[in-house]
Symmetry: C2
Subunit: 214 residues, 2 copies
């Protein structure tokens, strides 16, 4: 199909498709004439993934581009690929590598990791994010949230068991990587929505008792 | 203290403090002379909360302002307040109220809610977000993530038990609301970081087996 039909079928404007082509998020079509290219169903599927990461997942073009490059690099082992996905995603929110992190919060996080036996690379951006959040929570006087870190980690462990069963059952490295990307980006939104629904339900009996008596 | 000292102690520029005062995020100081106001420790504490919501939590000024207004409205019951916090937060990512949602995804979500007995207001933005995410995941071919919704809800339920034990133990309505705001905004980041750390650890043995043999 030509770019006009690709635009119609994917519901993405032609100008945006051309931008994704220039930035390398979308593979070029097959050139039939000097100024004409032909696209196929793979392009529609990729456009859906790009739009989901950007519109629904809230990623920047550059982060989406970095993740899709990992997905396209078929020469990586799955281990390296999933690691790269995590690290690309986590850099969105992590403090800079050379930022000075709060020492007490660093101990709290590293002790939690040691207690659970979680083996994490020392330069993990998720570890830096967690240290920064714990320091901020303590500064705001919410030490009780930091103190509940192990309880939260217990709940997270059963959630990650579900994640891993989905990731493990993929047939190819490319499918594994796409599951890791989509599961992390859209999955975080899904878990946040589920948490709010569960909180709304759980707040009912508690808070109705607090209503002023008539 | 004067605004200059407030700026120095809170590490927030004077111009930014004046902006928060104009927008109503920060209460005015006590006027001593027509053009001079005096601030106290409460202003430092509030500035820390504002900066955490915006810088660490990634909220817009207007969402932060909406949440702080809920916190400041001492005439609400806790039940109404926590509901307002959730709904203000969830609107960040939820599809518009009049958006047409995917019918099949709507059934999937409502059946999950019914199975768990979760009582949710019909206009819940978190419910709309969840429906939209499930429809997007199916469109991308990730039906297996949607099929794992109940497994994820199980893990979320034990996480929300921790949330509720923290929220319930607050002494005042204002403290309950602040715990709900901070726990949701910074808590989502904390859980996302924990999930990535647990995934990194869980991926190790699985993925090292996939390394090409030498």
């Amino acid at each position: 199909m030509r770019i006009g039909e690709l635009s119609r079928l994917s519901d993405v404007p032609v100008a945006t498709i051309k931008y994704y082509l220039r930035e390398g998020l979308l593979a070029p079509g097959v050139h039939t004439y000097p100024n004409q290219a032909v696209y196929n169903d793979d392009h529609i599927i990729r456009l859906r993934l790009i739009r989901a990461l950007i519109d629904v997942g809230g990623l920047s073009i550059s982060t989406a581009s970095e993740l899709l490059a990992v997905l396209d690099a078929a020469d990586l082992t799955a281990w390296e690929s999933v690691g790269k996905v995590h690290y690309a995603l986590a850099r969105r929110t992590a403090p800079d590598r050379d930022a000075v992190l709060d020492e007490a919060a660093g101990h709290t996080v590293d002790e939690m990791l040691a207690r659970r036996g979680w083996q994490i690379r020392p330069d993990s951006p998720a570890r830096r994010t967690l240290i920064h959040l714990c320091a901020t929570l303590r500064q705001l006087g919410h030490d009780d949230i930091v103190a509940a870190l192990d309880d939260y980690a217990d709940a997270i462990a059963s959630m990650v068991a579900v994640d891993m069963s989905l990731i493990k059952s993929q047939a190819s490295i490319a499918a594994t990587i796409e599951k890791a990307i989509v599961g992390t980006i859209l999955g975080d939104g899904l878990l946040s929505a589920l948490r709010q629904l569960a909180q709304e339900h759980a707040s009912r009996p508690l808070l109705q008792n607090n209503r002023p008596k008539r």
